[in-house]
């Protein structure tokens, strides 16, 4: 290497060698810079040719001299090909794609496809600097473009076509892959796939896929992804926005509104032909029904979870719901009956023991994947969701006129109540939630709920029987029963003895409950930073 001193610049000279007779063939491995590939981070790599095309290219040799072969078959085939001028390309191993596996099983996989035509007009050389300072130039034999291979689930072509057709109706794109996985009976967690789907989420027009609505919330919340946030912002649905920030209330409102809005068009026609179990004038929560039917058509599993979460949600966000509810309907106390009946019915339909349901629900909801905050009223079915957390498959039909059938429902519920002799978990409904349910029924004037098809029906108040259920008594016995079964907070207890059922005002309830607790003197335990009471028999 000689240094030449030039006038204005310093140049160094290097010898360039083109080594001959190297058995090594140099190739280029090209990655997209977006994939952020750094070879220095590789600890281990394996490369092999992807021979999967061999059977397409290679002439599949049928059995020679075994059963099923013909005499002279090969020659005949050859003659036939020549006659028709069919030229089949050979299978060249050289041209096959590479499969690169980095960092073992858990690492990334790449597929490298050969790029043609790089040696046609110009030659590429790799210049490396040797120890002695000279450069060595090696010709590039081939160029391979390496792309990362997806490890997550993808839809097949048919499924993708299907989903594409439904893209305007489907709101919750997260559930698409989830359901696919459930179908495959795999437990997968949402990954970037769903994030993508969330990003592609479009405004829902008209109806929404029934099975998807529930997921909407769950997954939105769960993912808590920014992606969903941006994507969902478009509609002003505020789903994403309300996700974290506003909590269920705001979300519930918006959701409900948007839901209702969305439903407007479809509501009228949708339920005309549907059979109704109990014929009755109307129901207080009729408008909720339409909403509920749609989601109810969905899958059980997600639904169940959702409802579970819903129930928990309600219990937690009682206050918020209360406010909201109070806005809309104040003197609708009378309505609680049908609603209660409704709830009861739901629970009945689930056929589960009620008393512990609430606690179970809470426990489950807490352990559920999905976040707690959610808007129960979204479906307007939030009300029933608690009790029917297991119901999952609440039939859509009855729910339409659910409230309408209040009388008969109430009768049925009553019977069951007595049969079980347990405190109805209807109390699991927060008063607020109940009121919330009433929401749609009363006035569209509330401004919150959009006009429901039910609006034509008489106002709930007129329908509702005025006598409250008296089967739920705030007695020491009842409290003791609860506390023996499971540790509960005061809030929980209050929920059990909801004012509408006991006939006492909230203040009275509180007082009586406090007295009872004093008498019982239960033991205290701190669970989740909350003071729980419990009794041991």
């Amino acid at each position: 290497m000689t240094s030449l001193g030039s006038s204005s610049s310093s140049t160094t000279e290097y010898v360039v060698r083109v080594p001959k007779n190297t058995s090594k063939k140099y190739n280029i491995m090209a990655f997209n810079s977006g994939d952020k590939v750094s070879c220095s981070t590789w600890t281990q790599a394996r490369m092999e040719r992807d021979m999967s095309n061999r059977r397409i290219y290679g002439e599949e040799e049928s059995t020679d001299g075994a059963g099923g072969s013909e005499f002279g078959k090969k020659q005949r085939e050859e003659a036939r090909r020549k006659k028709y001028g069919i030229i089949t390309k050979e299978f060249k191993a050289e041209d096959q794609p590479w499969i690169l596996k980095v960092n073992g099983k858990a690492g990334r996989r790449f597929k490298g496809l050969k790029k043609g035509g790089i040696t046609e007009n110009a030659s590429y050389y790799i210049f490396t600097q040797c120890a002695d300072g000279a450069f060595e130039a090696f010709p590039v034999h081939a160029w391979y473009n390496f792309t990362p291979q997806a490890k997550h689930r993808t839809l097949t072509a048919e499924e993708a076509e299907e989903e594409w057709g439904r893209r305007n109706k489907v709101v919750n794109h997260f559930s698409i892959m989830l359901q696919r996985r459930l179908r495959e009976q795999e437990r997968g967690e949402e990954d970037e796939e769903e994030g993508e789907k969330g990003g592609k989420k479009k405004k829902k027009k008209g109806g929404r896929g029934g099975d998807l609505r529930i997921h909407d919330l769950e997954n939105d919340l769960e993912i808590s992804s920014d992606e969903s946030d941006e994507s969902m912002g478009e509609d002003g649905e505020g789903k994403a926005k309300t996700k974290k920030d506003k909590g269920p209330k705001g979300k519930g409102k918006k959701k409900k509104n948007s839901d209702l809005e969305g439903f407007e068009d479809s509501d009228d026609g949708d339920f005309e032909g549907l059979e109704v179990d109990y014929m009755s004038d109307e129901s207080s929560s009729e408008e909720e029904e339409p909403e509920k039917t749609k989601p109810n058509k969905g899958e059980d599993v997600p639904k169940g979870i959702d409802e579970m979460s819903d129930s928990e949600e309600e219990s937690e966000e009682e206050n918020k719901n209360e406010e909201e509810a109070k806005e809309e309907e104040e003197e609708e106390d009378g309505k609680k009956t049908p609603v209660q009946v409704e709830k009861k019915k739901k629970k009945d339909s689930s056929g589960e023991s009620e008393s512990s349901e609430d606690s179970d629900i809470e426990g489950e909801a807490a352990s559920a994947l999905f976040m707690k905050k959610r808007t129960p009223p979204k479906r307007g079915g939030g009300r029933g969701s608690v009790g029917s957390s297991r119901t999952g498959s609440r039939p859509g039909t009855p729910s339409i006129d659910n409230a309408a059938t209040s009388n008969t429902l109430r009768a049925a519920a009553n019977k069951l109540e007595q049969g079980k002799r347990q405190t109805v978990v209807s109390s699991s409904e927060t008063p607020a939630a109940k009121r919330l349910k009433m929401d749609p029924s009363p006035q569209s004037s509330s401004g919150k709920s959009t006009p429901q098809p039910v609006s034509g029906k008489s106002t709930p108040s007129s329908r509702l029987p005025s006598l409250p259920f008296s089967d739920v008594q705030l007695t020491e016995d009842a409290v003791r029963r609860y506390l023996i079964r499971k540790p509960m907070t005061t809030k929980d207890l209050l929920k059990k003895f909801q004012t509408k059922r006991t006939g006492l005002s909230s203040e009275q309830t509180v007082n009586v409950l406090a007295q009872i607790l004093k008498r019982l003197n239960p033991e205290r335990k701190n669970i989740n930073e909350k003071m729980h009471f419990y009794l041991t028999e």
Partner: protein, 252 residues
């Protein structure tokens, strides 16, 4: 040929060696291929006004261009080749080598460069030469002076047909051999293949067609339809093939 699933030798990759990817004109690579010793020229790297300037100088002896035809080295390739350096850009380029027994990662590309010839008279001449060569058509029509009369001359009997007739005479008519023998031949033939054309069977057994057909009717069945149309195969009870690729389960 690469062995299945071989580990990539990452030793040189770890060193983070940076290499240059240089695009070189065809004629230059041809000249390089002619270099015997290995050294093809000199690379000058310098700085001028803050920018790196790279230039390649071809060795004198390699500038001789071989031309087709009579002209001898009237054209020479240019010697100076400035490099145009580019950033690697939207791609991450790595270099891997494939040798008969292993695959190794050599390094990453840090610069891309284009080797451009310094535009000189000699380069222009070279280019002209190239263009001339490339515009020559691959096929030429040539005019002949005399018509070709040697190809198709009438013959009384073509040579190959003479042979054919001779062969036929030799063979004579096919004689009916013993039935047992024919059956043996047939069975051994069907051992090799399942389906046979009648013509092929006649060829193999050298029996007259009618006789052969009679025998075949006894032991075989004719497929008039299906994938193996108009072929003979043995009757199921005579078959005893093993499971081939084309499922053929037989019963004895």
């Amino acid at each position: 040929m690469s062995v299945k699933g071989q580990d990539v030798d990452l030793t040189r990759a770890k060193q983070n060696t940076g290499v240059w990817l240089v695009k070189v004109p065809k004629y230059l690579s041809q000249q390089w291929a002619k270099a015997s010793g290995g050294e093809v020229g000199k690379l000058k790297i310098g700085k001028a006004q803050g920018k790196t300037v790279v230039s390649f100088n071809l060795n004198e002896e390699l500038t001789v261009v071989e031309c087709s035809g009579e002209k001898v080295s009237s054209v020479r390739t240019p010697r100076e080749h400035p490099f145009a350096i580019q950033a690697v850009g939207g791609q991450t380029l790595a270099v891997f080598t494939e040798s008969p027994d292993k695959v190794a990662l050599e390094g990453m590309v840090v610069h891309r460069a284009e080797c451009r010839p310094a535009v000189t008279e000699s380069y222009m001449k070279l280019k002209k030469l190239q263009i001339e060569e490339s515009t020559k058509p691959l096929r030429l029509s040539q005019r002949l002076d005399k018509a070709v009369t040697t190809n198709y001359k009438p013959v009384s009997n073509h040579s190959h047909s003479v042979e054919y007739e001779k062969k036929k005479k030799e063979e004579g008519k096919r004689a009916r051999a013993d039935k047992q023998k024919v059956l043996e031949m047939l069975f051994s033939a069907f051992e090799k293949h399942q389906y046979y054309n009648i013509k092929d069977l006649v060829d193999i057994t050298k029996q007259p067609v009618i006789y052969l057909k009679e025998i075949l009717r006894e032991i075989g069945v004719y497929n008039s339809k299906g994938p193996h149309k108009s072929t003979w195969e043995l009757k199921p009870e005579y078959r005893h093939y093993e499971e081939g690729q084309e499922d053929e389960e037989k019963l004895e």
